[in-house]
C-alpha cells in the first residue's frame, strides 16, 4: 500500500486535569493521572517530528491545557518547530498578565469555550461557576493581538440560547464562532439522553444560525456542527481514519482520534518509544481502518465511501458493537433503526392525524441527573 499522505494537524492532549466537570466532555471516561503526563522535552521532540512530517498546526487541548505549568515553553517549542499554535481553553486559569505571556510566547489562536449564554446554564453543565470568568477573558482579549474563536458547546439545555450567544460574540473581539453540537463520546455518551436536542429545537437553531451567517459575513466566520444522529449521512470523521491528523494523549499514546480507545483490541504506539513518522506510517492503530479493505457493505460498494469514509469507527463501535460497521447514523446503515428509536423516544411518537404529539417541554425544563466528569488524581 502506498504510504499515507502527511498529517496536517497534531492534537496535543496535554493533560486530563481540568477545573471544569462538563457533562459533555469527550475525554475518555478513564482519565490519565498527572504523574503519567509527558514532560516538556518529549512534547518538544514530538513538535519537531510533526513539523518534519508536514504537520502545519498544533491544537493544544486537554482537559485544560493551561493546567500545565510549562505551557509557555510548550508554545515556544511548537512555534520554534514551525507549527501554528491553537489553544483550546476554558479560560479559567487565566489572568490578564498570563494572557499577555501566552501571546508573547507565540500563541496564534485562542479558542474559548462557553457552556451556555448564562451563568446558571454554565454552572449546571460545567459543575462549577465559570461564566463570569469567561466574560472577563473576553474583555482582556479586546486589548491584545491574537485570533479569537468562541466555541459554544450546544445541547438540549442551551440550544435555545443561540441569539444570546451571538450577542456575547458580537460584543467581543472574536472573528470566529463555532456552534459545536455535542458529539456522543466519553462523558457525553454517558449523559446522552439528557443532551440530545429535540428535532424542533435543532431546526430552529439551524434557522437562527443561517440568518446570523448571512448577517455577519465579513465580520465573523461562523461554523456549526450538527448532531449527526439527526443527519442523513455520517460525518467524514477526522477527515478519515489516519488521513489528516494525529492525537497524542497526555501519557504519549498516539491515536487517530480522541475516542479511539473505546475500540477493543487496538494497540496504540507511544511517542516515548517510537518516532512520529513511524507511528503515522506503520502503527497498527493507524493502519487498521485506512483504505477500503476493512469496509463492510453497504460502505464497500457505496458511492460516498471516499466522501465520508463510512463515518465514525468509534461511533460504529458504541452504537452497533462493531468498529468496522457502517456508522449507524447513516441512513443506509442496517443499524439506523437504533438511532431512530432513540430519537423517537425523545421527540415523541409520530402524530396520527389531528393528534399533536406531546412536546418534551417538561423534560427540557427539569434538571437531569448528570454524570459529572471528575478531575484525575
Amino acid at each position: 500500500m502506498t504510504p499515507p499522505a502527511n498529517p496536517l494537524a497534531l492534537i496535543a492532549e496535554l493533560t486530563h486535569r481540568c477545573p471544569l466537570h462538563c457533562v459533555y466532555c469527550s475525554n475518555p471516561v478513564e482519565l490519565t493521572n498527572r504523574a503519567e503526563e509527558l514532560p516538556t522535552e518529549i512534547w518538544s521532540r514530538v513538535f519537531q517530528e510533526a513539523s518534519h512530517l508536514g504537520v502545519l498546526q498544533a491544537d493544544f487541548t486537554g482537559g485544560e491545557p493551561l493546567a500545565r505549568t510549562d505551557i509557555l515553553e510548550l508554545i515556544r517549542a511548537a512555534r520554534m518547530a514551525g507549527l501554528y499554535v491553537n489553544l483550546i481553553t476554558s479560560g479559567m486559569p487565566m489572568d490578564q498578565a498570563r494572557l499577555a505571556k501566552l501571546i508573547e510566547a507565540g500563541l496564534d489562536h485562542l479558542q474559548l469555550s462557553f457552556q451556555g449564554a448564562r451563568e446558571d446554564t454554565a454552572q449546571e453543565i460545567s459543575g462549577t461557576k465559570s461564566h463570569a470568568q469567561k466574560l472577563r477573558v473576553l474583555e482582556w482579549l479586546k486589548k491584545v493581538r491574537v485570533a479569537v474563536t468562541l466555541n459554544f458547546v450546544i445541547h438540549r439545555r442551551n440550544i435555545d440560547q443561540i441569539e444570546e450567544m451571538l450577542e456575547i460574540a458580537e460584543s467581543s473581539s472574536a472573528t470566529r464562532i463555532e456552534f459545536a453540537n455535542v458529539q456522543y463520546y466519553g462523558w457525553a455518551f454517558a449523559n446522552r439522553e439528557s443532551l440530545l436536542p429535540t428535532r424542533a429545537q435543532l431546526d430552529r437553531s439551524l434557522e437562527v444560525i443561517k440568518n446570523a451567517e448571512t448577517r455577519l459575513r465579513g465580520k465573523i466566520r461562523i461554523e456549526s456542527v450538527v448532531p449527526d444522529y439527526y443527519a442523513k449521512y455520517p460525518k467524514p470523521c477526522m477527515g478519515g481514519w489516519g488521513r489528516k491528523l494525529v492525537l497524542i494523549t497526555p501519557n504519549g499514546d498516539a491515536l487517530p482520534c480522541h475516542a479511539a480507545k473505546v475500540i477493543p483490541g487496538l494497540h496504540f504506539a507511544n511517542v516515548k518509544q517510537s518516532a512520529l513518522k513511524e507511528i503515522w506510517e506503520t502503527s497498527e492503530a493507524f493502519e487498521t481502518f485506512r483504505g477500503e479493505a476493512w469496509m463492510q457493505e453497504p460502505c464497500k460498494s457505496c458511492d460516498r465511501r471516499a466522501v465520508d469514509f463510512g463515518g465514525c469507527r468509534c461511533q460504529a463501535l458504541l452504537l452497533a458493537g462493531d468498529p468496522a460497521a457502517t456508522d449507524p447514523v447513516c441512513s443506509l446503515s442496517p443499524n439506523r433503526s437504533k438511532v431512530d428509536a432513540l430519537l423517537a423516544d425523545l421527540n415523541g411518537s409520530i402524530a396520527t392525524a389531528g393528534v399533536v404529539p406531546a412536546p418534551p417541554a417538561e423534560a427540557a425544563l427539569t434538571k437531569p441527573d448528570w454524570l459529572y466528569r471528575p478531575n484525575p488524581s
Partner: protein, 93 residues
C-alpha cells in the same frame, strides 16, 4: 462585503500568517484552517501588509502577469480578497 474598496489597505488579521518561508509549500495559516498558496495567490497575500492599497495590488499583479487579460486579473484579485475577508483572514484599513 460587496467588493473591497480600491483605496483600502488589506492587512492579514491577527493570528493569520504565512508558514515558515523555508517550507516546500507556502501556506496561509489561520484558526483551524490552512490555504495553499500558489503563484498569484502568494503574490496577493504577500502584499496584504497594511501598506499596499487594493488598487496597488491589482496594478502590480497586472505587471507581473502581463500576458493575462488585465480585467481578469482585477476580477480574480477582488474575488480572492473577498474570499479571504469572508474567512476573516483580512482586515481592511
Amino acid at each position: 462585503m460587496m467588493s473591497p474598496d480600491l483605496q483600502s489597505r488589506p492587512r492579514l488579521a491577527p493570528g493569520c500568517r504565512l508558514n515558515d518561508a523555508n517550507k516546500q509549500q507556502q501556506v496561509l495559516l489561520m484558526p483551524e484552517r490552512a490555504l495553499r498558496l500558489n503563484g498569484p495567490s502568494l503574490e496577493i497575500v504577500q502584499r496584504c501588509d497594511g501598506n499596499h492599497t487594493v488598487l496597488q495590488i491589482i496594478t502590480e499583479l497586472q505587471q507581473i502577469y502581463s500576458k493575462a487579460e488585465p480585467k481578469k486579473v482585477e476580477t480574480d484579485i477582488l474575488g480572492y480578497l473577498t474570499l479571504l475577508s469572508d474567512q476573516r483572514a483580512l482586515d481592511f484599513e
